[in-house]
Symmetry: C2
C-alpha cells in the first residue's frame, strides 16, 4: 500500500475561488452581506479530481492520499476572523466531499481558520467539527498566520490550546505555511522551506513535547533544510544543552518525502530514522514539470523511494506503515475497509 | 594548499565588544560624544588568534583563511549610520591587523556599515577603503540589514550601486546575515540558512547577473536548503520560465562547504558543479562541539572533503583553485608570495 500524506486540492472548480474573491471584496464594505460558499456539483468535483490528483495517483501506483485545501490559498494573513472561518469551512467541506466521492483514495485533512492575531477559539472549533463530525484524519497548522512572521514561535504558551486539542483528538498536524507576504520570500522557493527549518529549530530550543507528549507534528518538504544540515542541528542541540535530537524532537516530529530529486531522498533516508519518514509528493502542487534529466515528473517521489537500496519492508514503512501509526484516524478508516 | 573562505573573528579581545556596548549605550544620548574604538595591543590580537583560529587552522592542515568580523556581531539592524560606520571601521581595522600580524594565514574580508534604511554611500565608501587602501580580498553583504526582512530583495534596483562597486573592484561578496531580530528565527539554526535559501530564490527569479555579469556572490552554509532541494529549484526555474540554473544563477553563485556532516557534503558534491564549491568551515563559529558519532569537531569540514572519492585534483579545486579564481585579490596576494 502507498499512502501519500501530502496532497492539496489545488484544482478546485473556479466557483470556489470566486467565493474567495467575493469574500475579499466584501472586506472593503463590512456592512454588505457575506457571500455564500460556491455551489459546486458532484460532477464538477469528480472531474477536477479524476483529471488531476486521482489520475496522477493511479499512474504512480498510489492508493490513498491525505487531501487538504490548497496551502497557498489558506491566506491566514487576512485578519477578519469570520471571513477566515467561512473560508476554512467552505474549503474543508469541499475536501470532505472529495473524500465522500472517492472514499478509497482520499482522506480529508483540514485547513484551520487561523488569523494573524492568533485567536484560537474558532480554530479549535473548526478542528473539532472536521475531525469529530466529518471524520478528517489530520490538519494543517500555519506557524506564521501573519505571512510576515509577526506572531510567536509555536512553542509559545499562546499556542497551547491548539496543541491540547490535537493531543486530545489524537490528530497530527502538518506544520505548513501559506502565501508569503514579504517580497524577500518566494512562497514555493523560500517561504515554505524557511518555515520548515525555523519550526524545527523552535522545537529544538524548547520543551514542547515534554508538555504534550502525544502531539505529533509533520514537517513537510523533507524537513526544509534540516536533514541536509543534520550535523549542524546535532551540534547546536549539544551547544544549547538540549537533549539529543533522536531522543527529544524526533520522538514527535516526522518529515515527508517532498524532495524532488534522487540525491535529496538518498540523504533524507541516510540521516533520518526510517520511522520518522512519511511518503508524500505535494502533487498537484509546487513543482509540476518533467525533469529533463530523468524524463519523469519532479514530484514523482515514489520513483526516488523505489530506487533506494532498502528491503521492501523498510520501503513499506515509508510508504504506509509509518503513516498509519502517525495518523491513527487514517488507520481506523483503512481497517474499517478491511485493509 | 587549503584555503578556508569562511572564518570570522569571533574571539576578539573583550575591549572590542566594550566599544560596541558603549556605542549602543550612547545611542540613548546622541548629544554625548561618540566612544573611541578600543585600544587593543598586538599581543592581545596575537593571543586571541593563536589560541583559536590559527591553532585550529594548523591542526586541520589549513593554510589560509579569509577572515571577517563576527557575522552575528555586525548588527546592521541598529539604524544610526555613523554608529554603523564606526563599528564596521573598528571591526575591519581589527581583522586588517590580524592579516598584518599573520600575513601567511589570514586575508581580511570586510564588514560593511549597512543600516535598515538601505543607504549605500557609507557602505560603498567603507568597501573602497578596505579594498583599495587596506588590501581586503572580499566583503560580507547582509541581504537583510533590518534583521526582520523589512528591506527589499537583493535584486531590487536600490542595491545596484553596491553591485556596481563590487564589479568594478572585482571583489566577490559573501551574502551573510547578522543576528535575527525575530523570535521565530534562531540566528544560527534558522536565520542563517533561511537567508541563504531566500537569496538564492531571489536570484533565480530575477536577472541580476545579466546586468552585472562580473558580480560573484558566495552563498554560505552550503547554500542553505538549496542543494538538498536542487530538484525543486530546477523545477521551479522551469515553471517560472527562467533559464536553467547551470547556465544562469550558477555562473555567478558559489556555495561553501559549511555543512557539518558527511552525508551533507556528499550531497553537495553530487549535485553542485565542483567549480561552484568553495572550502569553508565557519570556525570558530556556529557549532563548536565534537560530534560523538565521529569523535571529531562538527566544523572540521576538511575531513568530509578528504573522505570524498574524488581525484586529488578535484579536491584541490574545492580546497583552493576555485577560491583563487573567485577571489582574484586573494590570488594576487598568494602570487606575490610565490604561491
Amino acid at each position: 500500500m502507498i499512502i501519500d500524506i501530502h496532497g492539496h486540492y489545488t484544482t478546485t472548480p473556479a466557483e470556489h475561488q470566486a467565493f474567495r474573491d467575493a469574500q475579499l471584496l466584501r472586506l472593503a464594505d463590512p456592512a454588505a452581506p457575506p457571500p455564500e460558499p460556491a455551489r459546486v456539483s458532484d460532477d464538477q468535483i469528480r472531474e477536477s479530481i479524476e483529471r488531476n490528483q486521482l489520475k496522477v495517483l493511479r499512474e504512480r501506483g498510489g492508493d490513498v492520499m491525505l487531501f487538504s485545501p490548497k496551502a497557498s490559498g489558506m491566506e491566514h494573513h487576512v485578519p477578519d476572523a469570520p471571513t477566515a472561518q467561512a473560508w476554512a469551512r467552505a474549503s474543508n467541506d469541499l475536501v470532505h466531499r472529495v473524500g465522500g466521492l472517492f472514499p478509497e483514495h482520499f482522506a480529508p485533512v483540514a485547513q484551520l481558520p487561523q488569523t494573524p492575531d492568533g485567536g484560537l477559539d474558532g480554530v479549535i472549533a473548526e478542528l473539532r467539527r472536521t475531525v469529530t463530525e466529518l471524520g478528517f484524519v489530520g490538519c494543517n497548522v500555519n506557524p506564521d498566520p501573519s505571512g510576515t512572521w509577526a506572531g510567536r514561535p509555536i512553542t509559545d504558551e499562546s499556542w497551547y490550546p491548539l496543541w491540547e486539542a490535537l493531543e486530545e483528538l489524537d490528530v497530527p498536524a502538518m506544520v505548513h505555511v501559506s502565501t508569503a507576504c514579504n517580497p524577500n520570500f518566494h512562497t514555493l522557493g523560500a517561504h515554505y522551506l524557511n518555515a520548515d527549518t525555523s519550526v524545527f529549530m523552535q522545537l529544538v530550543s524548547a520543551d514542547l513535547f515534554e508538555r504534550f507528549p502525544g502531539l505529533r507534528l509533520v514537517i513537510p518538504h523533507g524537513g526544509g533544510a534540516v536533514p541536509y544540515h543534520w550535523g549542524r542541528y546535532r551540534g547546536l542541540a549539544d551547544m544549547l544543552k538540549r537533549p539529543p535530537l533522536e531522543t527529544h524532537v524526533m520522538k514527535n516530529v516526522f518529515f515527508d518525502t517532498c524532495v524532488y530529486h534522487q540525491p535529496g531522498i538518498d540523504l533524507l533516508v541516510r540521516v533520518i530514522d526510517l520511522g520518522n519518514i512519511l511518503f508524500g509528493s505535494e502533487m498537484v502542487g509546487a513543482v509540476r514539470g518533467i525533469d529533463p534529466q530523468t524524463g519523469h515528473y519532479f514530484d514523482d517521489t515514489r520513483r526516488y523511494i523505489d530506487a533506494l537500496s532498502l528491503p521492501a519492508e523498510q520501503k513499506q514503512q515509508i510508504f504506509a506503515t509509518n503513516a498509519r501509526r502517525v495518523f491513527p484516524r487514517l488507520d481506523a478508516r483503512l481497517r474499517a475497509r478491511g485493509l
